[in-house]
Amino acid sequence: MRNLRTLFLNLFTWSLVLAVAFPLFWMVVTSLKPAFELFRRPPTMLPETVTFEHYWRLLTETPFLLYFRNSVILAASTTAVVIAIATVGAYSLVRFSYRGRESLAFLVLFTYLLPSVVLIIPLYLFMVKLGLSNTLFSLVIAYTTFALPYALWLLRSFMASIPEDLESAALVDGASRMGAFVDVILPQLLPGIISTALFTFILSWNEYLYALVLVNSDAARPLTTGVMTMLISAFNIEWSLLMAASVMMSLPLIVVFAFLQSYLTRGFGAGGVKG
């Protein structure tokens, strides 16, 4: 009876899990099918002939690699800038007292919830005026609008969970405030920093709206808008090619999932969803 219940529960749950994951499975399968097999009815669940021609074409005949490079530069620099500012900022918000600290924390939370479409028109005008539109730099600036409040908010709760005694002990031993920060707080905060960096990187990697508005040239286009341009400009939509692009675009994510997943779940706990 008990075994039967376990069996039923497992079958039921796993069929739901597989149904949720099916679109992603289908993406991989489609990207590996040769063109003639793609339009067969009924569709084949697993490709009868596996081909990598779509990946090859993607890398050699389309600007995919350029978009990929742009996305890497963009997400990496946004993450670096945001983490640097947010780590010291969070330290200040949690461990120092000065006037306006509380209202700042409030402002951080407020901006964390702010819709991008409100900021996008002034930011667009701003970039045009400064002559920065169509550059990766303009996107780094724009991405800080959502990444910085987000990183600050996460790091703030990670910072708050480090016992204050550790720092006090270092101060009693004669360390300066910044010395204690570097030697005591930073090592303790490292898992939190890694997890925040991962989230920031993924957020920037996936961003679409700012890239759509601020960049209109292939030289600075990241993957999100780049791949959509490939869809729109194609005379007939080549689904295999697009699915191959989708798989390639998800690669960094798959790497994170395979090796660093515990950091992702940790970030969730700190992200303000604890009841």
Binding site: T6, W14, P23, M27, R41, V117, L148, K274
Partner: protein
């Protein structure tokens, strides 16, 4: 705070604290506060996007917006989308979290698979779903015809109410993992004794869920619902990429309307007015969430 005399060390620390937060404040002012204020300012002008020249029109944009039908239909779409997708997310999310909390074979693998749609780029999600929804070769239409539900392939994204339902469904698929993870984390902290006590009192699985699990989840669910309501309300990518607001404007929500006014109809002032009104509506939820978080913090 009541202390008037501060020691030199405290004053020095205060100064250091201010210096450490200074970069954050500078960036905030440049990229968030300044654009926010200018959005409100711009909404009082009539600006033609290509030339960026404009005249002062005062509150005319707002008068036009409130009397026009497009704002109200977009707001209505926005509410349908938010309520629809949020309900599905919560129902699926809580259900899946309860299942994944059980002893499963390969439980951590199942949890990773569930998490994936949330982290995958919206562009990827939309491309995959558009392929699944494809008229002739999409697997969903194949299933529909094969199972005899319909003779003809369905137009998933190009007709109403299909388009709205599809968008709501894909939104639920993309964002329900957030609910799963948050609820799962809370489930793991419910003390086992509560269940044992209920079991001794003769409670069955259903009454254990209603009397033990749900009250324990209440707080976290309130937070999740507020947070997701805000995020779903402002969603742009998913709807824009799936339907573009179509057919005609049937799935056009407020963020799409702002984008259309600014960059397709070239009326930046009007677009800013839409954005400001949208933010004003969201402010209600935002303040509710911030107040609640503030309370939990202290």
């Amino acid at each position: 705070m009541t202390q008037q005399q501060k020691t030199p060390l405290e004053r020095q620390y205060g100064l250091l604290g201010v210096m450490l937060i200074a970069p954050t404040v500078l960036v905030f002012c440049a990229v968030i506060v300044y654009p926010l204020v200018s959005a409100i300012y711009l909404s009082l002008f009539s600006i033609y996007t290509p030339t960026l020249k404009g005249d002062w029109v005062g509150l005319d944009n707002y008068a036009e917006l409130l009397s026009g039908s497009e704002f109200w239909s977009s707001l209505w779409n926005n509410i349908i989308w938010t309520v629809g997708t949020l309900t599905l997310q919560i129902v699926f999310g809580v259900g899946m979290a309860l299942l994944l909390h059980q002893n499963l074979w390969f439980r951590s693998l199942a949890r990773s698979l569930i998490l994936f749609p949330y982290f995958v780029s919206t562009v990827v999600a939309v491309l995959v779903w558009r392929w699944l929804f494809n008229d002739l070769y999409g697997i969903l239409n194949h299933l529909v015809i094969f199972s005899g539900l319909s003779e003809m392939p369905l137009d998933w994204l190009g007709s109403m109410p299909n388009a709205m339902l599809s968008v709501i469904f894909v939104g639920a698929w993309k964002y329900f993992p957030f609910v799963v993870i948050a609820v799962l984390a809370r489930l793991q902290t419910i003390p086992e004794q509560l269940y044992e006590a209920a079991r001794i009192d003769g409670a069955g699985p259903i009454s254990r869920f209603i009397d033990v699990t749900l009250p324990q989840l209440r707080d976290v669910l309130v937070v999740i619902i507020m947070l997701r309501a805000i995020w779903d309300f402002k969603e742009f990518d998913l709807i824009y990429l799936l339907t573009g607001g179509g057919p005609v404007i049937s799935t056009q929500t407020l963020p799409l309307l702002v984008y259309k006014e600014a960059f397709a109809l070239n009326r930046m002032g009007m677009a800013s007015a839409y954005a400001v009104v949208m933010m004003a509506i969201m402010l209600v939820f935002m303040i509710a969430y911030i107040r609640r978080t503030g309370r939990a913090d202290s």
